[in-house]
Amino acid sequence: MTKLYLRIRSCLLLLLMVFTVSAMAQSRTVTGKVTDSGDGSPIPGVNVLEKGTSNGTVTDADGNYSISVGSNAVLVFSFVGYTSQEATVGSQSTLDIGLQPDVTALSEVVVVGYGTQEKKEITSAVASVSAENFNRGNQTTAAGLLVGKVPGLSVTRPGGDPNQAPTLRLRGITTFGGNAEPLIVINGVVGASLENVDPNDIASMDILKDGSAAAIYGARGSGGVILITTKSGKGGGSYTNINYNGFVTMDQVANRIDVLSASEYVARGGTNFGSSTDWFNELTQTGYSHTNNISVDGANNNLTYSAAVNYRDNQGIVKGVNFQRLNTRLEVGNSFIDGKLRAKISLAYNDRDQESINLGAFRYATIYNPTAPIFEGTPDDQNGGYFQRDLFDFYNPVALANQQQFVGERKNSLANYRLEYDLIDNLTLAVNYAVDREDGLNGGYWSTKDRIVGFGAKGQARRDTYSNRSRLFEATARYDRRFGDLNTEILVGFGDQLRSFEGFAAQVRQFLYDGPGFNGLDFGAIRQGPGTEVSSYYNEDVLRSVFARANFNYKNTYFLSATVRSESFSGFGKDEKTGIFPAVSGGVQITELVDLGVVSSLKFRASYGVTGNLPPFSNLALANYGPAGIVDFDGNPLTSSDQFVRIQLARDPNPGLKWEEKTEINVGFDYGLFDNKLTGSIEYYTRNIDDLLYGVNLPSGAPNPFGADVNNIANFAWANIGSISSAGFEFSATYNGLKFGGITYTPSFNFTIYDKAVIESFKVGDLGLSELRLATPGAPGQNNNEIIRNLPGQTLGNMYGPVFQGIDENGRYKLSTTNPDEFEVVGNGLPEGEFGFTNDFRFKNWDVNFLLRGAWGHDLYNSYRGFYENRDAASKTWNSVVTDKTPFITQSPTFSSLYVEDASFIRLDNFTVGYNLPTKSNVFSSVRFYLTGQNLFTITNYTGIDPEVRYTDSENNDRFQAGLAPGLERRNTYATVRSFTLGLSFKIK
């Protein structure tokens, strides 16, 4: 198969070498005025573009424009809320235009996977967001563009760590142990990494929400699908566009945990070291970031091209936490044989460097003694000159931030080669070959003076590297034909994806000098035993797919779509090699049948679809043997010829392991009122996820329950263990171009109400698996009481604990019980609903855009309060957290409902003011300045750091367990950030 790929790849490269490039010419001036054809009012800010060129301008405050054009020019007038209009200039020097309000919002094209469909034909739940509706400001990830824009899509990034990727959930929790995030498809490359695309380069994102829409992606569609289309050249003419967008951003701490000042702390009885330090201020700074983006796109007859370079330098609010990223994208396409053969090559390369610190510094900055100085002693002493004391869990946060250093480099590349050929009329064949690759190199160094690795440890250094690759070959055939009133589209395809994962790690300890760190592991003396490591891994898997889709459109009134995909995965058990994922959906445009008055469009649709989720690792079905430590036959470490690494079963195998299966029914309406000025959708879905994949405990030592002839020794295996169900209601509405005097207002509102995921069953054969307990608050003293319990018949992620009933006269808790068997449900971290409200105003050359969003009905365990607000003996050592919910308790803290808070919130997420400079320049076709504030205010009763929904437990390194323990705000949470961005963008003719 690999040889085939190579051959295809070299063919494509040859074709691309045949491409040619050329240029163009022009001159003559046209002026005119653009008005609303309904009320005759002038429309400022209308884009006026000479068709087929990058030559363009914008109307001024009175709707007037002036532009130089070539002979035979055609002008294109476009503005949000109006239908674009074309006019031939001919010999006229004045050209006035009346724009029609847009009533064709439903005619836009939607990317649906292996093709596009007109929005009016869509019969499943699909949302599209294009660049003009993306979130503004310093958005460092593609996901950030979508926050609050799509009902049912949660994009959360609690705290403000610039190096932390956001968590995405589409329609809530869809899996236990599979991929909980939506599948990412970039320009058709399935399973690509979001890192491959810079937010500046994205033209649109389409979100496949329901099972029917996602079924074309089969065993990876359960988490939903996000299809990303990058900006590219448009064919059919000759033009060149050069765009620049650059901005600087200032980040400030938006919220911190309040603690006692030095004097309050001493007055309260805390140990006085005689100084006064605001540790949080010492750790944080105002961070300045800058971003530059230059892109070129253009066309010359059959050739289209685009190229973009993005550079970002982000300095966070914490000293020592930052990243730099260079992202480059290049796309070239050409067509041959009268356009029948089309070839395209796209390359993306992303190079990222980051630095970070031990986030435990946030915890110590909160609780460290405020009377302690930062330094004492000399840099050569045992603590490197930092103030340190031998107290339990007591580390100088500034020392911690400076004495531990973590760096990472990541290189992502995505190369995609595509060839399409119209074999006969209506039949198009396409082949696609893509290589997606991520290479990472990390380093960590714990200084010789660092206390956390141990005062006798004398330094520790680590290097690890990994390389993940995916090679995808896909071939499709598409047949489009109209039979009388019936439009038919049939697609069949085949896909073969080889993924490989490899890595290497080494760690040593005991250094004389701090300088070399992770760059010189050979300076470390101890290379064996605790705190050291030498290891490597490599594995690969194969996913082979066949898929087909048929779409029917009868008289633009009745629509039907059917999909099937079969998926064969090498990582499935040998008796379960192939899964089939079918879907069917249909719709009817009611306004084509009856006149509904002000209702200009009303489409009812219903869908049913099955999707899956793959096991997270590919060897889980196999009874392989892995390394299990060194045995020394004579027990004498001095003789080494008798030392070997013994092997034992690497896992308890499950030869019957298969995919997770989600079945979803979605019913919805797409509506348009008042000539489609008001448009939107309403969705209701209900879904069942069966054969949930999860690692489950097995009876210790008993025979393997899945038929392998071994006894359990890990007492843990991945299995298809049960089912969950959930449902939800989604609503969206946009009013296009509401007028108040000269102001054009476009509000867009959406909300989601979740019927939270309920665990229907846990069951594997004879095994009972009736409970998953997770998430202890942690040290000190709260190590053994898991506060999340997942039980059949209950909502996923329920928090269990004693109910707080008050405080007795001695300042002690009155709790409902101390017996864990009598604990009750005291909260749940999943939201009952979320909303987003985008408001867009335009006035002359000005525009204002802001997003209010929020979530409600979710709880958070506030672990700062849960550990540090009591006036107990420990408050002599540690500073105390003070909130408006802090009670007077003298007892040591223990978990109860007292620390579970309702975290419903409303946040002004984003506020942008922009000014479009009127330009008559021969160089610039548009110039724009803008100012964006992000995270400007939050209304909430929550007293912790960030009321944002926590879908995962940040302290659990097992990402599968982490995903089943929502609603925990841990003590290492990065402070929230408020950002102000000043930007300039322009377009060169």
Binding site: L423, A475, N619, N624, S700, N711, D766, P780, N784, A873
Partner: protein, 510 residues
Amino acid sequence: MNKMNRFFLVLAVLIGSVTACEAPDQEVFDEVPSDDALGTTNPDALAAFAASAYRQLVGNWGGHNSLWSLHEVASDEMVIARKGADWDDGGQWIRVHRHEYLPSEPAVGNGWGYCFTAIGNINNLLKTFGSNALLRSELEVTRAMIYLWLVDAYGNVPVITEKTTDTTPPTVARAQVYDFIEKSIVGGNFGGTVFANNLANLSAQKTYATMNRWVANVVLAKLYLNAQVYKGTQEWQKAADACQVVIGSGLYSLAPTFKDNFVTNNAGSPENIFVINYDENNAEGFNLPQMTGHYLTQQTFNLTDQPWNGYASLEAFYNSFETADARRGASFLVGPQFSSGGVRLKDISAEAGDPDGEDLTFTPSINMLEPNSFRQAGARVGKWEFRLGARTSLSNDFPIYRYADVLLMRAEALWRINPASAEALTLVNQVRGRAGVAAFLAAQMTADNLLAERGREMFAEGHRRSDLIRFGKYNDAWWEKTASLPTRNLFPIPQGQILVNPDLVQNPGY
């Protein structure tokens, strides 16, 4: 129509070419496939497999939050007091101390998992290498030894062998488990499984940290000594006889000093009969300095990691040692504490009420069990040497069975048969003599004295709970503990195990 045919032709070719395309079997790159692993004839690989049976025991016998912790904290010789929020741990250690343990206690689950994982591993070895008679005997008896821990701690447990096919093996009554252990060693038919006389088959060589005939006899001796508890009938003579086999072998003797057994390099002690062979690099899991040391104890031993300030002894137990008893000084860290450089250590966070103030001093007296025990309170477990500069795990081997224990067991068995037994007195005094304390007189051979002697000699080695039960003292009240019900003599079957295996039956009283 021609075009349509071409379309269907292409379609047919496409579909035809791909339906044959099932994904290939998963290739193995960084592991050893089962057939290669088990088909090996390399003698070193086979030896490594045999060693596997013991490697599974390395881990948490001497470590925190498992079987050892349960045995110790539930007995009257050790306690983990709560120091404010520290060591609350969901109340587990207070409950264990007061015999209020729940089926959901993590330590209860960990202890069970530890034993049965080792059993699963041995069963896997037996499936592949069971045809080797010598290895079979070694593995079967090692499995029996682990069952001895289970029958003692949990009592009613499933019996799982390499022939078991039931994936949710049911509970077997304690007396039956006793029978299984005995037959596994001496031979016989247990529920259709016929055991050879493994005792005879086992190596008579003095091996280190592996199963041999002498270790097997100690397992039997322990089983018989506790027969009244395990199955309701007494087997004192059998217990005495099994001990005598070991004593009579002449292979083992008391080490010259008590401390010799617990130094970092204790592999040479003539007293070791069976140990868990810990090594700070290759066999980690014995982290006693962390478990018992005060935070500042790090400076006393230049430990790489800060200790947790947990385990201490009870004052009454500490006081059961005579001042002259060499074992007292060798078993505890008490009194003023100094850094390795001789500087007096100061705990600047010492509680206001602590009579010792900031000067770090381990006092045998503990002010309270909870909620605010003084941080410095309690004699610490200093029985094993903490190497200067020790890492998180010690290299000291942990004695599961030691010659002094065998002497005291035989003494007890003989005394049970005849309280005036002269040999019993001699044996006890052999152990006392090494500790530098006066010999017992015949009249001093009382139950209380025998139990106390075992306590002093075997402190922290995980035997105290069984001894208290056998002497009928386990349910008594002691410091911060009221009298407990006899059903507390067994730990509960872990809740997590009952959840996954519905055929397990919870022990009475839970």
